[in-house]
Symmetry: C2
């Protein structure tokens, strides 16, 4: 039985009926989406590609979760600049072998997170693939003019902070790879891996604070991601591993399995918490939840206090 | 030998060094691109996905031409709304088996058309694929506020026009598929298939004319594309096939091969000429090169005068 009895136009119609653009905006169904621009804003654009065999295994992945995550990682990039997500664009190359209802469940997950961040799907492309599923998502966002937080603005003396705990997603992946017994604990960690939550509200609040200098989201692991800030800002850093925020769930999982929480916190990625640098004065009055984990200096590279190796994070190639 | 000895970051660096964003714009290298918005403009966003086996065959396609075409089809969507292309975003999933220098040649083609339309590459994603190459391009454009030409605005009595000849790309594809002998004529047609030229200048000029109502680009073939306008506008049309603009090259190729020029003009796609409807008064003073091929009416469907079947154009599914 064909898994996608719908033709291209019917599929587009089915998807578009679930997403209604704001008044004045033209969404799915024309050559382009048309979005009115507001004065005093900058456009932010982020795009990511996910392909079967590299980012997920089609026979194992849950389509709802993949739909959620496909949108989440790009919305998180908008959060990382201190912006608001405005609209998204979804392209996929669909193999004929997809199970019945797969695309619908994918769209459900995509829609749930899009609704949560008021970020409607306004366009995209659907096409056939011989075999491999490929997904590309582009998210358009907005930030107050000149206020987007770049990676290149870290200053010597800045405190390095995260917006939340790190390592949960990596511990969740560990549960999956090791086929850990299903318990409330492992289910919580697995959910953090599959259904990450972009920090849009936190990013918007941080963007309004002049003392917040560099910012990005933690996608590849703090070791790898912090290096991007340091390279772009031409600075160094010292990280106090004792201060890394590790959730009770990760600690508990490590107690049960004899694993090292630091490994998850340092090498794992995909937490999508914000990583930012802030002047000590601004940090004193910062009311947004955060954890100070280190300091920017003028040296080269990262000095890890309380860890025994140099953590690199995930490399794509 | 590995074809892509470069790691992800080196590849990004190599690509980004070729594209310099305008002052005040943040391009490749941060979580998002940041583009200042100008007042009185609407944002246009178009995206397309191309995958090996469906849109091209990796062992046959010329990477320079594929790079050109990947950007061209999206720039053409911006032209179809009457906009100007502002920036592009390129994602690809690269198999290890790509020949040495393949990505560089792809980028050369992509860059040449980007330069031609002052549309710099400002971001994207590079990732590994197990086997199949997948490419996704998103182009951001701008149109004067409320002036973008939609598919839904055709009015009864409008003349239907194209901005240029149709069928050249289909004749070029015919040369390729039939391994036609290489002559100046076949080379010209093949070039029109592989290196289409978006009609940005024409689209911008047409967007300024209030009497131009509906507009799109001819990508799937005039039969299929005109139907989009008619469906969105809830109108019908009559097309006079004797008036379809057919190039001397297509006529000559058909004389040599015994093929029917109308087949190429009606069923073939990928000419990327503009298809628009315009009031007869506005058409009288229209100084932009164009060909009147029919008229919008209040009937249903398309009546083809001088053709013996109902041409559908290319269906993706």
């Amino acid at each position: 039985m064909s898994s996608n009895p719908l033709g291209e136009f019917q599929l587009i119609q089915k998807i578009s009926s679930q997403f209604s653009p704001a008044p004045g905006t033209t969404g799915i169904g024309d050559d382009c989406a048309v979005i009115p621009q507001k004065t005093g804003l900058d456009s932010l654009i982020s795009t990511d590609m996910l392909i079967d065999g590299t980012h997920f295994l089609i026979e194992h992945v849950d389509p709802y979760q993949l739909g959620w995550k496909s949108a989440a990682v790009n919305i998180s990039d908008i959060a990382a600049m201190g912006g608001k997500a405005v609209a998204s664009f979804l392209s996929f190359a669909l193999p004929k072998s997809l199970p019945e209802g797969w695309v619908e469940r994918f769209i459900n997950g995509y829609k749930d997170i899009s609704d949560l961040f008021t970020c409607p799907l306004l366009g995209g492309d659907t096409t056939r693939s011989i075999d491999r599923l490929c997904i590309s998502v582009t998210v358009l966002g907005q930030a107050a003019s000149g206020k987007a937080k770049l990676r290149s603005s870290a200053q010597v003396g800045d405190l390095i902070c995260t917006s939340g705990c790190i390592g949960d997603s990596a511990a969740g992946l560990d549960c999956i790879l090791n086929k850990a017994e299903s318990t409330p604990l492992t289910e919580t960690l697995i959910k953090r891996h599959y259904l990450p939550m972009p920090r849009i509200q936190e990013g918007l609040a941080l963007a309004q604070i002049d003392g917040v200098h560099a910012m990005m989201d933690i996608s590849d692991g703090i070791g790898s991601d912090l290096r991007h800030i340091l390279k772009a800002s031409r600075k160094g850093a010292v990280i106090d591993c004792c201060k890394l925020p590790i959730s009770d769930e990760v600690k508990q999982y490590c107690e049960q399995t004899g694993k090292n929480p630091l490994e998850f916190a340092l090498s794992g990625g995909e937490d999508y918490e914000l990583l930012f640098t802030i002047s000590p004065e601004a940090e004193k009055s910062l009311e947004i939840k955060h954890f100070v984990i280190g300091e920017i200096n003028s040296e080269e590279g990262i000095q890890w206090l309380g860890a025994d190796k140099d953590y690199l994070g995930f490399r794509h190639f």
